[in-house]
Each structure stands twice: as C-alpha cells, then as structure tokens.
Symmetry: C2
Subunit: 574 residues, 2 copies
C-alpha cells in the first residue's frame, strides 16, 4: 500500500493579512484625532496585554489596537511558560539565583564566540549587558504584579530545567519557569489560559480594546511620536493621539517571506507565530530614526514541511519530538542529529551548508517511526507529528515496508521540489536507512547513543513525549525500531516561533535613534524589537519572561512621561 | 624550539574612523550650500569612481566625496577582477552566454533552497530577478565605455572559470572575467591599477574630488533628497547641494562590530574591506524611508585570526590557500573541509554550529604545512599565509616537531581566549593530528581526496597557489606532509571582503521606500545597498562586475532627472 500523495498546498507567502498594509511614511500633526488617550498599545498578544494592564494600573487611559479580529497573538498558541530569574517561589524554596551567575549564563549562550568571563560585560555589548540586567531585575516584580491583580496567576515549575542546565555557567538549573495557574498538567494550553485571564483583566479594568485595527504609520510632531493611524477592517482610517506614549508590541516578521529571506541567518520556512506577525513595526519605526538590531536571529523550532509551506494558521512548532522507536534521517537515509535536542538547537540542523555542492543537504529531514511509537507516543500537544486517530494526519506518510515507505516519501517530496531546491531521496536511501536503523537499534538496546548523545541531558526527557514504559530501561528516549511494518514518516524542516529582531530599545523600552537617544514618545516591547538574547534560547519561557519584564518597564517609563497638551497642526508647519 | 608567543593585539572594533560619526537625522532645506553640483557621488571606491565618471561623461557636474584621505576604498586592495556576462571578448571568441542561461545560474546559487527552474522568476523574488537581468544587460556596456574612455582598459581572461563552473546551470563556465589591462600576470594588483586609472580619468575629466569628507546626513526638502552634509578632517561641516541626485557608493559594514553581530548570518571576525566601511549609509538612508535588504549575507573569505582581531588595515582575505603538503585541522586535530574550496564557501566552514554543545567547533581552524610548502608555495599575493622571507610572518607558528608545534599553537590560542569563546586544543590533538596526516598523505599519494574532494573542480586549481612541480602528478593540490619538521601553522577564521546588504534599490539604482516607490533624488550603488546575489558568490569579480553595471544605470537615471532649481528654505517650513 502506497499512501496517496495529496496535492501540495502552497500559499503565496507574502500575502498580507487584512487590513492590507499601506505606506508607513509618518503623518504630521496631532489633531483632529478619532480618539485621544494617555498610552496607545499596539498589539494585543503576550507583550501588548501586560503592557496595557501595567499602564492602566498606573492610572493611565489606555487604547489597545490589535490587527487581528481577536486578542492573543502568538501567545494564544503557546504553552506560555515564562522564564523568571530569581522568582518568588524560587526564593521561598531556597533556590539561589544571583545576578552575576544569571548574567554569565545568558552571556555564554547569547554570544558563544564572544563570551569572556573576564570582560566587564562578559563579551556582550554594553547594550546587551544592560538589557539582560533589566530582565533579571524586572521579570519577577512584573510576574508578581500580574498575579496579585488576578490577571495572570501562576504555578511554579520547580523541576523544569533550563535548556542548558548542564553547563557550568548555570547555577540555577531548575526553578525559573512559571506557567499560568489554570493550565492543564501538561501545560500545553497555558497560552489560551493566560491570554483569556489577561484579556478579562484588561476589560475589567477599563482598557479600551479595539480589534481589527492595523496600525499603518506613526503620527509625529516636532520629532516626537504623538499618535498612530490605523486602518479598520471596513477600510476606514482612524487617527488615535497619545498624551504620553505609543508602545508597539506587534510581534516579529515570521510571515513576511521577503523579510525572512533578507534578514534571518537561515532560509527558514515560516513558522508558528500568529499569522499577523508580518514585521509591520520595521517599516513604521525606521522613518523616525529607529535602528534595527538582532535581525539575524530568531526563536527557532522544527516544523512539518507541508504545513509551513501552506502557511497553515494552526501550525504549532515541534517543541517536542515524540517517540522512542523513532529517528530523523536525511535524504541519504543517515541520521544526522540528536532528535531530542531542545527545539531551537534542533532547528539549526536543517540549515547546515555544504560548500562543496552549494546546497543545504539537511534542509528536509524525514522523521520515521514504527507501530510501537504510533501506539504509545501519539499526542496532539506541543506540535508532535505522531498524532492519535481523529487528528489531522495529512502530514503522515505510510508504508507497510521500508521500500513502500521510501516510495511514498519520494512521491511526497516530488510535490515540494519547487520549494526545496529540488530535493529528492538518494537512490540508496532504503539500504542506507536499513543500516541506520540497525545501528540505532543497537544504541537503543544499550541505551547509549554514541553518535548523537540522545537522552544524555535533562531537558531531553522533558520533551521526550509519552513513551511506552519499559522496566529497567536507562534511556527512555530510545527503543529499537521494529523489523516489521507498518512504518510512518513525516517531512520536517526548520522554522520560527517568531523572529526577535527590530528597533533597538533602551532598558525603559524606549526606541533609540542612531545616536542612542530615545525617540520621544515611541516604545517597543517583545518580538517586534531587538532582543538581547542574540542567538540564545535560554530556557522554556525565555521569550515571555523577558517580554513581561519589559512590558512592566515600558509602562512605568511611559507613565513618567509628561502629559502632552495636544493641538491642531498649525497650517504653516512646525 | 617553541616560538615566542607575541602579545595578542586586539583593537576596539567599533572605533569609527575619522572624521567621527555624528547624528544621521536628515537636515532640512537646500541652501545656503558650500557647493552646488548636478550629481553628488559619496564614496570613491569601486562603485563611486565609475559612477562619477559615467555621470561626468553624460555632461553633469559631479562632486565626489570620500571619507578616507585617499581614493580607492576596498577596490584598491582587490585584484579587481570584474565579472561581465556576455562580454565583448566572449562574443568575439564565440562563447555563448544567453540571458536565460545566465539567470538560471545566478538564481540557482543566490537562493539554493528556493531555486525552481519552472518558476517565472526561477524562485527569486521579482526584485532579485529584475536586478539580475539588469546586471546581464548593463555590465558589458559599462565595461566597454570605461575602456573606450581610457578609464579602465581591460584584459580578457578566457580561461578563468566561474566559481561553480561545474554545475549544469553554468552554460558559460569560462570567459566572463575581465581584469585591468595593466595588472601583472597574476592579476593580484588589479585594484591598484584600476583605481589609479579611474582616478586619473576622473581628475582629467573634471570630477570635483574631495577626500577627507565624511557624509553625515542627507539634506531633504519636500520628501526629496537635495544634498548632503559632510564633516571634514578639520572638523568643519560642509553642505553640498545637488540639482539632480545623490548617489551613495560607500561600501558595507565590515568594520562595525555592532552591525556585524546584529545582521550577518555568522559571527565573522571583520575582514579586508577598507577600514572606512562602517555601514554609514544604513543610518543615513533609513530616516527617509529606505528599506534594508540582504543584510544577512556577505562576500566571505577566510582571514588570519590575529590580523582580523587587530583590525589590521593591511589585511587581505585568503583568496588562495597555498601549499600542497598542507591541511586545515580543527581543535581536535581532524580535517573538516576541502582546504581548496573557493574562499566564500570555505569561509562558511568556520561557522557550523554544534547544537548539542552550544558552540562553533570550527570557529578557528589551524593551517599546518611543512618545509616543502614553505620552500615552494610561499607567496605574498592573494592573502596567502605561507609567506616568503622578508614578509610579515607574525601569524606563523613554528615547531621542530608536531609536539612542539601543538604547544606553540596552544600558547597562541591562549592569548585569544577572550575573542574565541575560550577555544583550546583538545588534549589528544597531537595524536589525532598524526592520524589525520597519515590519512591525508595516503590520499595525496593516490591524488584522490575521498573525504573532502580536494582538487576535483577547476576553480580549485586557479587558487592553488604556487607548488613544487612533480612529474606525472594528477592532483597538484595535494602532496604528503613530511614526517620530519620543521612544521608551520597559522590560525584561520572567517571574515568578509565586505558585506552586501543595505537599502533596496530598483534597476536604476534608485533607493526605494516601503511601498517600492523611489525616494526622490537618492541612489545607491555597490556594497552599501542590497545585492540581488543573496548568498551567492557567483564568480571572481561577481562583486565589481555588477557594481559597474549599476554605476552605469545610476548615472544614466540621475542624468535623466530634471535639474532642480535650488532655493532657500522658507522660514515657515514646507
């Protein structure tokens, strides 16, 4: 039985979401405006919601503008772990997390080639160092405030390790992760829970929420940002003026193919950010002098090729690669990576470059598993590709024998030649795959992966997914692949949760110009601005923890801004 | 004998050249200006000189502003090959180079994961496709005009192959390379020759050349670029107004560590661009709406670690890795790459990432050679590290035995721990190196490198450098490494000739805003703007050939601009 090959679905990747993008050239003046408020927050996801809440709790009038029809952004799809150094429950448990240790850990991973424990900034730039200190200082107070106000109550995860808990620089290897209190035991629905509770608090506390508003450009006067113009779903332009500040929290550029190709360090295939994350802030902020930074790196994860190419809005990154009797092989049939690596590092594998052939030989890897893993490791959480009956399994390729499986894989790949540089299986794929399985099975029997060290680090068990219990097994990430079919496969490549580059901000989240001076009135938080994490994915929640910290700092700094008296633009100019 | 370890020299990498950089916020108005001209060209290197000449020959008054005390930029250090598809000498020789074939070749290499021969744009973006067509159309007429006018006479290199001459998409594998006519046989001094002849022509034909002028910002009026402000070496600000256009040709951002780290796809160590190439145009162009593209890729080359770290202005990229009895090994003592790969591809090797250990294991490789290569392959050209007596050999590490050599390498590396993420040799380095040499020597005897395919492609012989002749040898890139010392070594990492990202321009070299509309009066040429080559280094001279093509197109388009009547800024603003 060769599985039928579905017609490949490809989406024109750069088609913008509605309302459509218009010119980002700034508009002049302040009034007349359709609304006037103290603080405008642009974006209603994991950065915008806490920014709006913190601002409101400081007594500000807040208008929150969201491009999508509903709140939540990428966070709504996430597990919403948030990484909070030196958090209150850690301290209660006596888990030490001193700032100098924290800084060494983050610096070692952010810039591994520049890391220097003897340097005053540990090899980071002064800006990166200062931003990391701000994370340490503000993540916990911000998390506590959200919890106290009932907007985001949390559950502490004392046993969840950092993604690099084994390196000597990690002096607090577990305990920094919080999750929304109401999330299920597996924590996979944390985003839905957290977005729901923050949205409810925003409505309760009087944040003026306007969905379906795409901010197109800034309104400026005398060099200061004094508002925005947004397009509504029905095609109207609305001008909103701000007495104090405009804070962007609009996410990255995962869904703009042109930006991805021209900035990211690797030719990724989209990802699981909210479909509205098209990098709007890049064009909007540049004309007032913003300077882009950290544009090369992203929060990376493996993704199933077909869904990434189709721009499936329901795509979830493969945060967990399930199965023990399971391997990834390349087009030759060889294993090339530890399949249980944390997702950000696993995703780098696809983009190794062969300078002799001028190609990316691992651009698409094939996940292969047997009936055992299908029966015992199927799951509909964390983007796993081994799914239980009743779930969308259009990405699954089947064969009763390895020969049949290979034939079906080859047929599936054929439909994607146009987006993989013509990738095909090598003629010897099946025989090489047999040898690969034989070698893997020997490693699985011994519980030791001499080739790629699968199951040697704590984090790899966290993301191992459900497996059939086997008494006395030392390494639950591996089990021999059966000599009998049926066999299953799926095509895997590299994508992003979201990007993490954009305008550079200071530790108060103010957007900076080329001299390092804040652009009056303009703030940015989250994946729409430059992250000081550089290439690192420090831990689960290393996205949202720092974002909440800077949301708090942005709200405090915006609150301190003098309240501007708004006025008409004089006819003759400034 | 263990060689003395010199004190490592590191330079504060982001210290700008003089005059110092100031705020890039645009100035308003047009007059009063210190000078008024038709066309301002900013930058006097391989892009600016031909732009100024083409503009002048069209009858325009031209002011050329150069930041450095002398003309030439990066081109002065280069061999100045220029890659010109379908050039006149090719046609004279009957070498066919049809546009559709050319486009398939460039598309296949620019975007290998997106290349699709059935796509109307071959998998390129429409912009990339159009720009590549412009190169094909204009490179030859531009080269011919420079030659006819005596500004840059050329010699055709009918036998020099493209860097990927062996791929099926290359239908004109040799013949596209021209070099300045007066260059020596080895062509290594082509840049000095070409810059001298173009500079002489510029002076002869009345280009107003002003060196020591650092352009700080644009002068704008009513949304149009009408001039620039520059700082002189003695600290004065000069405003120059342009009746027609301002053309930037200021090079890339090789020498700004902050920009490198925040945009490039790999953590490179500087490179051999002119020391003035600090990315000035990025901050200058953004405030008028320019959109950056191709910021992730660069023209790459290996570089000697010490000189790159010291920011040695005399650094030449390793365009040719000399020696036959020579290997590169990593910190474990293993070969990891074909040492004779073309430089751009060889330079990628240093940046392969190990997601299990969180490090770049090949960040620094060690070139090792014996007395034979020292005696017969020494050269002071093309950045080779095996240098003849009398040359600066401070990068050379010596040992009478492999043990002594390893000790000296380890000592040298120790001084660079702070800039290599703490890189050290593995304890088993010497024994692994012995096995590596043994295996390499077997390959050299057979003339076949089963591991890395050294000497299997035409381009690898072009860059092989001088070697001792051996009768009957099939593969002149390899010879067994001697069992007896002395031995020599040098530390090698990856750098850039220059970067190739910046504002996006159209096929007339006009800088475009976020809607794809030209920003009136603003043009860009060369490495300061976005290259449509994406990740590709198509051939020797694939930098300068396209640059000359766009210099020609920029000059023509600027000439067609209506001549503005310049005026004072009205006090009330426009």
């Amino acid at each position: 039985m060769v599985a039928a090959t579905p017609t490949p679905r490809t989406a024109p990747d750069a088609v913008p979401t509605r309302p459509a993008r218009e010119s980002a050239a700034p508009a002049n003046g302040e009034l007349p405006a359709d609304a006037v408020t103290d603080v405008i927050v642009v974006g209603g996801g994991g950065g915008g919601l806490p920014t709006a809440l913190f601002s409101r709790w400081l007594g500000n009038e807040v208008v929150l503008l969201e491009k999508a029809p509903e709140l939540g952004g990428t966070a709504r799809k996430a597990a919403f772990w948030y990484w909070v150094p030196n958090n209150v429950p850690m301290r209660a448990l006596g888990l030490a997390d001193e700032e100098p240790d924290f800084l060494r850990y983050v610096a070692r991973l952010a810039r591994p080639t520049a890391y220097d424990p003897t340097s005053p900034t540990l090899g980071l730039s002064q800006w990166e160092y200062d931003m990391c200190r701000a994370i340490y200082e503000s993540a916990s107070p911000a998390a506590e405030l959200l919890a106290e106000k009932g907007a985001l109550e949390y559950r502490h995860c004392p046993d969840v390790p950092d993604y690099w808990s084994e390196i000597p620089e990690d002096k607090a290897p577990t305990g920094r992760v919080l999750v929304p209190a109401g999330a299920r035991e597996s924590m996979s629905d944390g985003g839905a829970v957290g977005v729901a509770s923050m949205s409810a608090a925003a409505r309760r506390d009087g944040v003026d929420i306007r969905t379906g508003h795409r901010v197109q450009r800034l309104v400026v006067r005398g060099g200061a940002v004094v508002g925005v113009e947004a397009t509504t779903a029905d095609g109207h332009t609305r001008r909103i003026a701000a007495r104090k500040a405009v804070v962007f929290a609009t996410g990255g550029f995962t869904h703009d193919v042109d930006l991805r190709r021209n900035f990211l360090h690797a030719p990724v295939y989209g990802g699981c950010a909210a479909a509205t994350n098209e990098g709007d802030f890049l064009a909007i902020a540049s004309p007032v002098g913003a300077q882009l930074r950290n544009m090369n790196y992203a929060w990376m994860c493996p993704v199933p090729l077909e869904r990434a190419v189709a721009r499936d809005p329901g795509l979830i990154g493969m945060f967990s690669v399930a199965g023990d009797s399971m391997v990834f092989v390349d087009k030759t049939g060889r294993r090339v990576v530890n399949e249980k690596l944390q997702y950000n590092e696993l995703a780098q594998t696809f983009f190794s470059y062969d300078g002799d052939k001028g190609e990316y030989p691992h651009l698409v890897l094939v996940q292969i598993w047997d009936q055992r893993s299908q029966d015992h490791s199927a799951s509909d959480e964390y983007g796993r590709l081994i799914v239980p009956p009743g779930n969308d399994d259009s990405h699954v390729i089947r064969g009763e024998t390895l020969e049949e499986l290979a034939e079906a894989i080859a047929a599936r790949l054929e439909g994607y030649r146009g987006v993989t540089g013509g990738l095909t299986l090598d003629p010897d794929f099946v025989s090489t795959l047999r040898r690969t399985i034989q070698r893997f099975n020997g490693s699985a029997e011994r519980g030791v992966d001499e080739d790629f060290h699968r199951g040697e680090k704590p984090i790899q068990f966290v993301f191992n997914g459900p497996v059939k219990e086997e008494p006395g097994r030392s390494n639950p990430t591996m089990w021999p692949i059966s000599g009998r079919g049926p066999y299953y496969a799926a095509l895997v490549t590299g994508g992003t949760l979201d990007t993490k580059g954009g305008p550079r901000t200071n530790t108060d989240a103010q957007v900076l110009d080329d001299t390092g001076t804040p652009i009056p009135g303009l703030y940015g938080v989250g994946n729409c601005v430059a992250s000081a994490s550089a290439q690192a994915y420090w831990a689960g929640g290393a996205t949202l923890g720092p974002i909440i910290a800077f949301a708090h700092r942005a709200a405090q700094a915006a609150d301190r801004e003098p309240s501007r008296e708004l006025r008409e633009l004089a006819p003759a100019g400034s």
